[in-house]
């Protein structure tokens, strides 16, 4: 049995893999994107720009105002004004190329922060390019009056915001942009509560990032959404802010029907192949077992008659001199057993020829009742010993043409069944008829009968109703199979008729009249 499962299981696994793989191949993910509410987004971006511009302008104007007053004010006043503006660390006031003074503004968060020196090119002081931010001398040109600008500290974090408030003066503020942006971010977070609320409520996928990619607000639920559908940057002197918006993304899974059908087809084919192999292997196994069993049964069937022959021959020899009658009796028993063996061998040979398609019938002129009588005569001693009464209604005494050996073999197998399985009933009924060109033989008994569900199975080779050791009977399981096969080869049939008591077999054969044969007068 294990071998069978070893055949079926791999194909079952292969079918499962084919189904799984097919499903994976057939799977299609369809992505749909729902556009964001662009108008609302633009409104928000516009509001943000306006606010950022306002902050930028306000900061710039504060510095410009201090720059305008610083050349003329006492340094303490300038320092006080600077300390009020976030991130303004120092203020340098230059008159021409010389520096008038420098004042400190807001304190850096950490004392270790080094502020760059701010010098003007062409000044009196020696320039240190490593530690200084050198303002170009061109800034003092007349054309730059009223101008302003930003110079970043090379390699540093600060930036220098310069102003030309008057023809002689240049004012430069050292600004820490990080602190300035932090202040702006703090303001924006408060400011966003209002303008951002509609976007949040509508569930837009939006993010707002400030300078240094610091996220101020993020409503991006799906991080795998891919690149933003809308990017709205805004650059000011305070830095660059960016509003990004994503379309809403939905993924629907569908299956390609053709691929799915193909996978199911492959899986079904594999399963069918597995089932086919499974059944074939089981059938082959059953046949092999039946053949082994058949060989055992044949050898079993040979055993009893051979024993009887051996024992009776031995006993015959012992009684040969002083008890000749006993010897004759023993030899007749030997003869009976030899006939039993001959029937067995005949059945095996017929079966073998049928299997090899070499079985041939030899129709000849005969009288059916004579053939039946000859067979019955063989069984008579055995039936008498078993106390089986035989009743025969003769009705086939006219000549016909059929294979007498085949008829004898069929009759012998039917009577042998009664002898083996139904002798307890104590009665064997035989009825022969010849009507309308057909010969019919009915063999009845009063034995245990055959269950209706086995009505057809008993005609299959190797099938036996009685199999257990306590059934007492043996047999090769070939008799009825051969009998029906012969009957059908002769153009007739052998069937089991329904009966309430025992079994009734009916043989029906075509039997055209053959006038050349004349029946003997039946015995009185």
């Amino acid at each position: 049995m294990r071998g069978i499962w070893l055949t079926f299981l791999p194909l079952l696994v292969a079918a499962t893999l084919a189904l799984w793989g097919g499903e994976r191949l057939a799977r299609r993910e369809v992505e749909t994107r729902t556009s964001a509410d662009r108008e609302r987004l633009h409104d928000f971006a516009d509001a943000l720009r306006a606010e950022l511009d306002r902050l930028d302008d306000m900061h710039h104007e504060h510095l410009a105002r201090i720059a305008g007053k610083a050349p003329f004010a006492v340094p303490e006043v300038t320092a006080k004004a600077c300390s009020d503006i976030a991130g303004t660390r120092e203020c340098h006031v230059f008159q021409g190329k010389g520096k008038s003074y420098a004042v400190s503004g807001t304190r850096p968060p950490d004392d270790s922060v080094r502020l760059p020196e701010v010098e003007i090119a062409g000044g009196k002081r020696p320039l240190n390019a490593r530690r200084s931010v050198i303002l170009p001398a061109e800034l003092l040109e007349a054309g730059n009056l009223g101008a302003s600008g930003i110079i970043r500290e090379p390699g540093g974090d600060h930036e220098i915001r310069w102003f030309r408030p008057s023809l002689e003066h240049l004012v430069a503020f050292t600004v820490d942009p990080a602190e300035l942006r932090q202040r702006v971010d703090t303001h924006l977070r408060e400011w966003l509560a209002g303008p951002f609320a509609p976007l949040r409520e509508s569930g837009e996928l939006v993010s707002l990032t400030g300078p240094g990619d610091v996220a101020l607000v993020t409503l991006q639920a799906d991080t795998d959404a891919g690149p933003a559908a809308l990017v709205m940057p805004h650059r000011t002197r305070l830095g660059e802010w960016q509003v990004q918006a994503w379309d809403r993304r939905q993924v629907a899974t569908t299956h390609d029907t053709a691929t799915l059908i193909l996978a199911c087809g492959i899986a079904a084919a594999l399963l069918l192949l597995g089932a086919f192999l499974f059944l074939q292997q089981r059938r082959a196994l059953r046949l092999a077992e039946e053949r082994v069993s058949f060989v055992n049964r044949v050898s079993h069937e040979l055993g009893s008659p051979l024993t009887n022959i051996l024992l009776n021959l031995d006993l015959s020899l012992r009684s040969l001199n002083d008890r000749p009658a006993e010897t004759r009796r023993r030899l007749s028993l030997v003869n009976e057993e030899v006939q039993r063996l001959a029937r067995l061998v005949s059945n095996v040979l017929t079966f073998s020829r049928g299997e090899r398609k070499t079985l041939e019938l030899r129709p000849a002129a005969c009288i059916p009742d004579e053939a039946v009588e000859a067979v019955l005569a063989q069984f008579q001693p055995s039936l008498e010993r078993r106390k089986v009464t035989v009743e025969w209604q003769r009705g086939a005494t006219s000549g016909t043409r059929l294979d007498p050996d085949a008829l004898a073999q069929i009759t012998g197998n039917l009577i042998s069944n009664v002898e083996k399985y139904a002798s307890a009933g104590g009665w064997l009924g035989i009825e022969t008829t010849m009507e309308d060109g057909r010969f019919q033989l009915r063999v009845r008994d009063r034995g245990p009968g055959i269950p209706p569900r086995q009505k057809e199975r008993i005609f299959e080779a190797f099938e036996r109703v009685h199999r257990g050791v306590s059934e007492g009977s043996s047999g090769t399981g070939l008799g009825l199979s051969i009998a029906r096969d012969l009957a059908r080869r002769m153009g007739g049939d052998l069937v089991l008729d329904s009966s309430e008591n025992g079994a009734v077999f009916q043989l029906d054969l075509p039997a055209p009249p053959h006038l050349a044969v004349v029946a003997d007068e039946p015995a009185a």
Binding site: N296, S299, H300, E301, L302, G303, S304, L306, T307, N308, I309, L310, L311, N312, D314, L315, R318, N321, D322, R330, L333, E336, E337, R385, R386, A424, G468, V469, S470, E471, G472, S473, S474
Partner: protein, 227 residues
């Protein structure tokens, strides 16, 4: 000594019973397992020969039931079932031997005697008697001279027992036939002579000049205990 034979084949049953009876054993014949058990309970035979495939109760079951009450009686299976599993099952149930059909008379008798010898060993505890330099062990169907064992049939043992009981006296031919063959058996006188001839060949040192079974002309045979 009685042997029960059970076989559903009437021919085998009759022939086997005849062969065994011919050896001097009493036989009981059963056509099925149920009858075998009934006969076993009633007669308590000294050995059982059982077929396996029998109606009503099969041979295995008969063996099982007998072994439930008697673990000593020899049981032999005689079966045409020749698959190894049948032998294993049979011996596993407590049978003493398994004889496959077809078998000959000589084989089955030898196996029966071997089983009886195993069941009744010819030791000092067993019943025995002496005739000249021959010691006879009736239950084991054996005779011993010095270290040599001589197998005897049941009938031969009966003949020797009869002579030993009547040591010094002639035993008539009819008495031999009555006591060793049975009253309902009618062998002619040549049968007895042939048996005596065979027996002398087995037990006499010189069968031509017998010392144990002497011929008494016109009467029969005699055992001279004093010789």
């Amino acid at each position: 000594m009685t042997i029960l034979i059970a076989d559903d084949d009437p021919l085998t049953l009759e022939a086997l019973a005849a062969c065994i009876a011919d050896e001097g054993f009493q036989t009981l014949s059963a056509a099925d397992g149920k009858q075998a058990i009934d006969l076993w309970r009633e007669h308590r035979p000294q050995l059982l020969c059982l077929d396996i495939m029998m109606p009503e109760i099969d041979g295995f079951d008969v063996c099982r039931r007998v072994r439930a009450t008697d673990s000593a009686v020899p049981i032999l299976f005689l079966s045409a079932k020749n698959e190894e599993i049948d032998v294993v099952v049979g011996l596993g149930l407590g049978a003493d031997d398994f004889i496959r059909k077809p078998f000959t008379r000589a084989e089955v008798i030898a196996r029966i005697r071997a089983a009886l010898r195993r069941a009744h060993p010819a030791d000092d505890k067993g019943r025995r008697f002496t005739m000249d330099d021959l010691t006879v062990h009736p239950d084991a169907l054996l005779a011993r001279r010095e270290d040599k064992s001589i197998e005897l049939t049941r009938r031969e043992v009966l003949m020797l027992e009869l002579l030993h009981k009547n040591a010094g006296l002639p035993v008539a031919r009819d008495r031999f036939l009555d006591e060793c063959w049975g009253l309902d058996y009618f062998p002619d006188s040549r049968t007895l002579d042939q048996h005596v001839l065979m027996l002398r060949k087995k037990i006499e040192r010189d069968p031509a000049n017998p010392r144990i079974i002497a011929t008494v002309r016109g009467i029969g045979y005699r055992f001279e205990a004093s010789r």
